[in-house]
Symmetry: C2
DNA sequence: CGTTTAATTGAAAGCAGTCAAACTATGTGG
DNA sequence: CCACATAGTTTGACTGCTTTCAATTAAACG
């Protein structure tokens, strides 16, 4: 095996395209140095793509797996009547198609929300990594299971919460997830979605999303400057959104500093 | 390793509590005989439980993983206002808490839909199996990914389809999934849920589910005798439900014989 | 600056929910 | 075997949250 490399210990998370992804893989336990190195050594091609670009299309038979080094993406499906549903939002450091690593034909599309830099890893390389390094394999499973947990919560969100709670909930979810990537600044974050996309993620219409956002703002729960969302009353927003972070499987500490 | 055992090749699927689960694990490729044996040799305790029993409760820190040898179960969550959402229905042969194998605290509850026999496997035994046998590990990942795909489709169902399509869709899904377990008889199946549970799975109310079922029946798409659902017009029901089996990642062949 | 995309607001319509009651099946105990 | 209790299904009338439709304003972009 490779010797441990101290340079990896405290590297700049923006140096390597897999840095944030690796951090995510290690969320449930540090990987052996050789495994970390193996992840970083994965062969890949880095691409810079514009917002709206497709990373995967439903029906595709993909030959590589994409890791979001920078930028945002979302998973979506279209219904027969042309309506769109967004089922997940991928944030920097997420692997976008682990799905397609072991399943042959993609069951949904993935589209970029913003300009992004994406690292494509050959399917086989990733499969071998997971097979040959059990610690990486279980880390991949764990990350996949957290993604499933988020999906379950989304089913609850669109199935059983009213519009106000849905929007509040998704904002809370973004906040907590982004915090794990160090992307909360000044008590808020830059929401990389239009209100129409927010509507497609919550099973509402863009018109109604607009009304709900306004009402949350009027009630003093959030404030907005363009796409930037600030949490004026983080506690109350969680209450309105019926939000509990348990399903995200992250450490339990409050992250929003309302003073800022 | 253990020698291959020809007795496994064509065993009665009802002999061993893991038989159907193993079949599911082998859906994407035959496992080496030693791996199959290792699955079947997993230590476990078999329990017979009544409908309504909890296999896991949200917040639990489970020490074992349950496999449904017989019977049905469902995953659920309660919202703060007391509403229930069902996020998945587990059918015979499904492993119920792979989630809890690698995540510490359960993010949802699992409850039995019917009387069932359940095999509890110690968490550690399963973890070791996955780590020591890469082929089993990838099979577990693949099965987990199919479950995720079903979850995504449920988000679409609840988020973007009207009540009629939702009910039609979930009926189609059950039909195809049950067929993979050989549980379609006479062109229909025994639906092991009350209309209220069906409502909680589709984000509707039981009153409205009742109306929709009736309308599907009046339109000649299905017929019902108690909980038994018969498909009178399988093709049309799929159209109404906007159903495509792609997301289930099963073989593509039509399974409903309407003549019966 | 014109053009395009996104956000905002108002008025009206509709799908599904709520409330309430009746009906059916099943099971229990006398 | 029947009276009664319980759980689930069915139906009707009414309400309401969101959608739909339409128009206006604001922001982003070349």
């Amino acid at each position: 095996m490779l010797p441990p490399q101290s340079v990896l210990e405290h590297m700049n998370p923006f140096e390597h395209p897999f840095a944030q992804w690796l951090e995510q893989l290690e969320h449930f336990g540090r990987l052996p140095a050789a495994d970390r190195q193996a992840v970083l050594d994965l062969p890949h091609r880095l691409r810079r793509l514009d917002a709206g670009a497709y990373l995967v299309r439903e029906g595709d038979i993909p030959r590589h797996c994409a890791v979001l080094a920078k930028g945002y993406a979302f998973r979506q499906k279209l219904t027969g009547s042309g309506a769109r549903q967004i089922m997940a939002v991928c944030i920097p450091g997420d692997a976008v198609d682990l799905q397609n690593m072991f399943l042959d034909v993609s069951d949904h599309s993935v589209q970029l929300l913003t300009q992004a830099s994406v690292a494509d890893i050959p399917r086989e390389a990733l499969q071998q990594l997971v097979r040959n390094r059990p610690a990486v394999g279980t880390a991949v499973i764990a990350v996949t299971l957290v993604e499933s947990s988020i999906l379950r919560e989304w089913v609850v969100n669109v199935g059983r919460r009213d519009s106000r709670a849905r929007i509040a909930h998704i904002l809370c979810e973004f906040a907590v997830r982004l915090e794990t990537r160090g992307m909360i600044h000044d008590g808020g974050f830059e929401l990389p979605m239009t209100q129409e996309q927010l509507a497609d993620a919550t099973g509402l219409t863009s018109v109604h999303v607009n009304r709900v956002l306004k009402s949350l703002e009027v009630d003093g729960l959030i404030s907005r400057r363009r796409r930037y969302i600030h949490f004026d009353n983080w506690r109350a927003l969680q209450d309105v959104g019926d939000f509990s972070r348990r399903y995200l499987h992250v450490e339990d500490h409050d992250i929003i500093d309302e003073a800022s």
